[in-house]
């Protein structure tokens, strides 16, 4: 087996991992999801899932990648046994399916750099500009193509490029978000937005949607269950820490999410209240919610001295953050094909082309985009379930001793971690049961947000991967021998 390229320093690995975690998940997705699903009430399950779902899964993923030195399919085959390689294929495919529409979001970020430079974004009201951009169709398609091209090119150059770029970009994005947050909070009427974000309504905690969306958002944003950390861990040094790094990624990601929400939601109350009810604006489904960050951030910077410069910098940094997350998705898929014996160049060309083609429907139709975001973000919960099952099948205590508590690890885990790992499938089963028993639409496979559309798409993927499992395993493990 060829010697793999390794990260040169802990800071490099951390910045690359944070670069993967800090992206549009915090800045585009978190503000719109918390705004839509209850504000303050949402925060309670969201915090709980950080400790009971996301950080434990990040630890498991780091350990699986570092232990198996293979992508998701190979790691499941090594740790769980070759009969279960299809679970790794599902985990990889789920991240790949997200990549198809994630590239579209990255394209939106790139488009907004150009719109900020020309100043066109300031000439119209935010929602009008956003709607006219989405309605053109050829523009989202063109920028989706640009995003996939840039991502594939960077990944072709190797992980050192990611390491170098993120050392500069993550702090820049953080500083820009802080500036945006301070300006947003000093707008007249912004306090109503802060109240909306942080006032819990306990009755809403009896709504399954709040819990399901909180879990999904936690996983989507931190990268837990994606298989991305597992893939990065393939390049980790043997004596690298796992537990503390997972904690830093989880807490860092959540911190950026809160700052992003504080930079965007109060603006809707301060500026949007002039022509509509801000709560309605936030909770409405459709383009207004999907484009929340793109609609309101330009209006916020328009209120500032030097706003145009800051807006350009903001979308530049957001685009880089989005690209750094996108390249980790391309790397994950590329790694799987490389494990199956393809050369890196061929694997990247194949993944880039397929991702562009399968992302086209999301670029052209907002309904299709919303369906994919729903199906595969909730699908991440099943990925997390499979990863926990892998550790349980291997033996959680044995897994902890053989893959986590090794030389170089800063914090060794005790038996409490075993209990948390067993709680992951329990959380998954309870939440899915709650959702299935409350929601309708079991047979409605064409509805954007139904149970049926999820079952159909997940089921199809799982059936295909079970059917080709033997072939997958043969290619993956024969590829290793070559």
């Amino acid at each position: 087996m060829e010697k793999k390229e390794l990260f040169t320093s802990r800071i490099g690995l951390l910045m690359a991992s944070l670069g993967m975690a800090v992206g549009t998940g915090n800045i585009w997705r978190f503000p719109r999801i918390i705004a839509k699903y209850g504000g303050g009430s949402f925060l309670i399950p969201w915090i709980i899932f950080l400790f009971l779902w996301s950080i434990p899964l990040l630890i498991l993923e780091f350990s699986m990648g570092k232990g198996a030195r293979k992508g998701t399919v190979g790691a499941f085959g090594t740790i769980m046994g070759k009969k279960f390689g299809w679970m790794g294929a599902y985990v990889g495919f789920c991240a790949m399916a997200i990549m198809f529409y994630y590239s579209v979001v990255t394209g939106w970020c790139i488009k907004y750099i150009t719109a900020s430079i020309t100043g066109k974004v300031f000439l119209q009201e935010g929602l009008t500009y956003w709607n006219s951009f989405i309605a053109t169709q050829y523009q989202p398609l063109f920028f989706h193509f640009c995003a996939m091209l840039i991502g594939s090119f960077i990944i072709y150059k190797g992980v050192r490029g990611i390491e170098k770029a993120n050392k500069f970009l993550i702090p820049s994005l953080f500083v820009l978000l802080l500036i945006a947050m301070v300006r947003a909070l000093t707008l007249p009427g912004a306090v109503e937005g802060v109240n909306y974000l942080f006032t819990p309504k306990l009755s809403e905690l009896f709504n399954y949607e709040i819990w399901l969306q909180a879990l999904t958002q936690s996983a989507w944003s931190t990268g837990a269950g994606w298989g991305l950390i597992l893939t990065y861990a393939v390049y980790m040094k043997q004596k690298e820490d796992i537990v503390l790094n997972s904690g830093i990624i989880g807490f860092g990601d959540y911190t950026v999410s809160l700052i992003a929400a504080l930079a965007i939601v109060p603006v809707v109350f301060a500026i949007g209240s002039a022509y509509a009810d801000p709560v309605e604006l936030l909770q409405e489904s459709g383009p207004a919610n999907t484009g929340l960050t793109f609609i309101w951030i330009p209006q916020l910077f328009n209120q500032m001295a030097g706003g145009r410069f800051f807006l350009i910098m903001f979308f530049l940094a957001l685009s880089f953050a989005a690209v750094s997350s996108l390249i980790s998705m391309i790397e994950l898929t590329t790694r799987i094909f490389m494990d199956m014996g393809l050369t890196r160049k061929r694997a990247i060309i194949m993944v880039g082309s397929v991702a562009f083609i399968l992302g086209i429907p999301s670029a052209l139709s907002m309904g299709f985009f919303e369906n994919q975001d729903w199906v595969w973000s909730v699908g991440l919960t099943m990925s997390g379930f499979f990863i926990a099952l892998a550790a349980i099948k291997y033996g959680v205590k044995r897994f902890r001793e053989n893959f986590i508590n090794l030389e170089g690890n800063d914090i060794n885990l005790g038996r409490f971690f075993d209990v948390i790992v067993f709680l992951i499938p329990v959380q998954f089963v309870l939440l899915i049961w709650w959702w299935f028993s409350q929601a309708g639409g079991w047979t409605d496979i064409f509805s954007s947000f139904s149970v049926g559309t999820c079952l159909f798409q997940w089921g199809l993927a799982i059936i295909i991967f079970i059917a080709v499992n033997k072939w997958l395993m043969r290619r993956t493990f024969e590829g290793e021998k070559q």
């Binding site: 802990r10 950080l50 109240n195 942080f198 820490d241 503390l244 904690g247 830093i248 807490f251 959540y254």
Partner: protein, 40 residues
């Protein structure tokens, strides 16, 4: 500002930001002691 929002902001912000700062400090401390051991 709403009192329950203030409490929530302090609790959630404290957990998240506090956790991040603590984890970063620990990581940097460990890294320093590792490099000191290596050079010694």
């Amino acid at each position: 500002m709403n009192p329950s929002a203030v409490i929530m902001l302090i609790v959630v912000g404290g957990i998240v930001l506090g956790g991040f700062i603590l984890a970063m400090r620990m990581a940097m401390k460990r890294e320093k002691s590792k490099s000191a051991n290596n050079s010694g």
